[in-house]
Symmetry: C2
Amino acid sequence: GSRVIAIANQKGGVGKTTSAVNLAACLAVLEHSVLLVDCDPQGNATSGLGVDRDAVPRTLDEVLLREAPLLDAVRPTALPALKVVPSSPNLNGIEVELLPAEDRAFRLREALAPLRGGYEYIFLDCPPSLGILTVNALTAADSVLVPVQCEYFALEGLGQLLRTIELVRLELNPALELEGAILTMYDGRTRLAQEVIRQVRGHFRERVFRTVVPRNVRLSEAPSFGKPVILHDIKSPGAAAYLALAREFLRRSPRA
Amino acid sequence: GSRVIAIANQKGGVGKTTSAVNLAACLAVLEHSVLLVDCDPQGNATSGLGVDRDAVPRTLDEVLLREAPLLDAVRPTALPALKVVPSSPNLNGIEVELLPAEDRAFRLREALAPLRGGYEYIFLDCPPSLGILTVNALTAADSVLVPVQCEYFALEGLGQLLRTIELVRLELNPALELEGAILTMYDGRTRLAQEVIRQVRGHFRERVFRTVVPRNVRLSEAPSFGKPVILHDIKSPGAAAYLALAREFLRRSPRA
Ligand SMILES: Nc1ncnc2c1ncn2[C@@H]1O[C@H](COP(=O)(O)OP(=O)(O)OP(=O)(O)O)[C@@H](O)[C@H]1O
Ligand SMILES: Nc1ncnc2c1ncn2[C@@H]1O[C@H](COP(=O)(O)OP(=O)(O)OP(=O)(O)O)[C@@H](O)[C@H]1O
Ligand SMILES: [Mg+2]
Ligand SMILES: [Mg+2]
């Protein structure tokens, strides 16, 4: 089997895609087989791995509408052990299209079922909202990874996110667990960051990953080359952080 | 009358709320009467102005569902010329609740109509999505202000946003114009930022504001005190940038 992990936080710009792409890539470099599913209409995880979504046979919206099996949407990346399922702007309209379907929350879970044996880890990159796409990812997942930016506004939404996770656990996916919180874009020079870290540890307690991802320009440059940071600049603090995070994840995360 | 301006970009974390709060506050300091409507279930604009949304009589969701007039939701802020309409987490479910209503895209426009004479400027802070809340804001607005973070991923979504604005103009609000793009979180030390600025000027041409907002920790600290940056640290580069932006906005923006 596989472990399916949703990467979610409705606050925008907190490092969901950067964490999804780089954690998946680092696990692949450490020779674990990984699939990354881009559940965000923006498609940043798709382009961050160098895939041109205008040149692929199938995208996630077609899979959720049952027009194609997920297998047909899987694309290779520069790393042999890492595959990606591209998103498309059509995902913007999926909430309205799926509304009449009783099983609208289960479409991704259903689509992933036949692939679960083929990968050790399947990551689901979520958009910045608590709509049907994030609900689908939470319903399909075994656990949720929450990137938290070391900023004040990022704290505000945590309560809402934890309530949504609880609701999904009660009504749609009783097995859903909290994998943990990752502190991102940490800038040690500011008092604010220290204060935010203190509060996040209050919310998540021992479920906060020890590895803290620093703010590092190499992380924001890498996607412009369509590469994860370990292929863009392996000596950078950003690459070191995500390699350390991948190792910590492996230690903490029970294999399927 | 008033000018109604939506502040929108589906990319998360690009400075929509920071621009909404600080541009509105600077205009209020320059003695223009301003209303800021928080259309985002996260409620960052509400707390960024020191309003406790658990302690207010009415929130925007109730207005959009026609349970209360917008006037009943208006709250004062620390600046006499600036008022705010708080959001609530209930906005997360509004897309599904409004779906049966033919006029679901016009609810905010309808709610704002009676207030338009009372303020010179009305700003609408949008969530990071192209769903019903952003569509409501674009349908209610005279123009759209687009904050663009000086980062690679921020470029990717611009095409989708401009197409959505065009669609709203064709089908819902023929008067909708592009107010312009604001470059945010600029860090002059990186090559990436220069490249992004070059591309944004290609997309928006003369509609890019000359004022560029630098990355400045005072801007991210201010909301933790519930204040716009001009009340938190008026001598900071962040305060100077938004004051300059407010003056440029006044020069460029025709009065109603
Ligand atoms: N540690 C970091 N250091 C520097 N830049 C970073 C870091 N992590 C992410 N970034 C940059 O910050 C921006 C936001 O990150 P990212 O797009 O991964 O967030 P997100 O949560 O996926 O956003 P959205 O909510 O839009 O999906 C991006 O431009 C990214 O390149
Ligand atoms: N110029 C700046 N310098 C430093 N920090 C900034 C700046 N502008 C915004 N920030 C911080 O960056 C984060 C993202 O900004 P903000 O929340 O305003 O973006 P947003 O587009 O409204 O996000 P969302 O998509 O979640 O609504 C916040 O923590 C904010 O305090
Ligand atoms: Mg993302
Ligand atoms: Mg915001």
